[in-house]
Amino acid sequence: MSEALLRPLRAVPARLYVWAAGTVLLLALPFYLDRFWLQAGLFAMAAAIGAIGINLLTGATGQLSMGHAFFLAVGAYGYCVFAADGGDGGGGGDGLTGLGLPTWLAAVLAVLVAGVAGGLFSPISGRLSGAYLGIATLALVFIGQHVMFNAHDLTGGANGRDVPPLSLFGLTFDDRELLVAAVPFGSAEKLWYAGLVLLLAGALFARGVLRGRPGRAMNAIRDHRIAAGVLGVPVARHRAAVFVLSSMYAGLAGVLLALVFQRTVPDYFGIVLSLEYLAMIVIGGLGSVAGAVAGAVFVSLLPQLLTRYSDALPLVSAPGTGGIAPGEASRYLYGAAVVLVVLFLPGGLVRVAAGRRVTTHPGEER
């Protein structure tokens, strides 16, 4: 910290260059990458948004949630229900409930509904702490699965339902090709930019929350609940509020995921997904926005990388051929990463990247 203060003239521009280079690179990628990588990148962006949300809850406030798959599902299905044309109109072919709202409004409403769902859980999320809440939120995943498989009119049951493409200011994010600088733009290319904007907005908002008064209060609750209460922090209200905010992030991630997948199926939103999000924030670094993004990129790109290069890698082989499938191999890797990071790298990947030495007691690192 003091080193950075001593040479501000050199340090700040260097950072700026990195940011500028990164921005240009991210903006230029759709012109060069093929669809596979763009989709992988979009998954990573959606995961990053969700991971930022759960990091506010688990990393900054110390409240474990194993139920985030549920809020992702609420976002994804909420968007479908609000945006799809109603079955009786004759236009919608699948006969499922749909309100036919403008798609941008549907996306906003889906995020709000995820927030409301989180709010309904507040009697529990405000009162339970840490791992207790983790077990309680398991219920959400199973309730969600039950509803998804049974509320056929809303969710299409086990087969899931199609996701109507987003359209904004007359631009539709579908596969009708649009030529930009001689590069055909399909849904992945267009969504790439939407994803970048959403991720940036989400990251900046979360950073604001963490750096301001609410962030201080959240950290105080995590580090010493009673002291926080004595200092005048309304503990239950903050816990519930963070839970709501975190579910809204998950809802937004769900909307984006649905748009990328173009179809939502209930099997995806299971307990494994919740565990994946927890793995992301632990690997990246608990309690920071950059950590959530780094972890999300790591965990969501890993299976894609292994799938793409399964021929070239030892031990990994295509699914169904007897060896370790890429999905399993990536689970081994991030499972081990979770254990190793907590034991040996408290603070996660971002801490390593920042090159800071861990001087405090590991228990306080989180």
């Binding site: 207790y132 398991l138 039950h146």
Partner: protein, 296 residues
Amino acid sequence: MSTFAEILLNGVSLGSVYALIALGFVVIFRATEVVNFAHASLLLAGGYVTATLHDDLGFWPALLVGIAGAALVGAAVEFLVMRRYRGSDHSVLAIVTIGVDILLTTELTRRIGTDVLALGDPWGDAVLALGPISLAHTRIAAFVAAALLITAFLLAFRYTSWGVSMRAAAESAETAALMGVRLGRVSLGAWAVAGGLAAVAALFLTVFPTPGLERATSLAALKAFPAAILGGLDSTTGALVGGLLVGVTESLATGYQSDLTFLGRGLGDLAPYLVMVAILLIRPAGLFGTKEPARV
């Protein structure tokens, strides 16, 4: 009426199996203050060992090896992972167990694949008829075994020096250590016992009427989590009551499914979680859990 009695008895039997799992979970929590999310994978490990060995060794030796195997896996997790953590924050350790769970479950489900493994139990699908009520032998065996194990465990917990040192460690780890209790051994023992109990539970979760050990068995084992938490995580009584409550509710919801079709299919799997949420709304610390005293 006879169906009701049948459902109730089946529920009690199922509940006693959940109680076994929840008990192991609570033992780990009391001894080390760690919420063990890897518990379902310990159970899967015990079941898998029994399932692969029963052809060669016969059922009873295979079961013993399975119990020992799961206890060993539990002890190994404690020794190789938990003990390496130098911090003091127990919720971080809970996250470590999630990582362990991802590793173990991935490995075991990969080995099991899409198969359904039989555990070679001697009861088969025999049914005992008591007047109008008929009960599967497996359900009776489950209840008897669970009751015996739980009684033995509670007696050991109360009267043996192992039990006393574990309770002392739960009361105040620091004082216990100063009095000569070796905390490392206590937590190693807790993990091993929890693994062994989970392996027995694995047997009874996979015998008739369930088809056998498969990937989804770990989901069934997860229901012990609500059982443990609705009873109160730090209470052995709570684990027993919670287990029974969860088992009976699940059994009732499955048994009267045809009258509850408006709530959708598969309600039995959901019921334990609904009970948990309902109880946590009224008593956040669980039925028998001690409300955290606030010391400053």
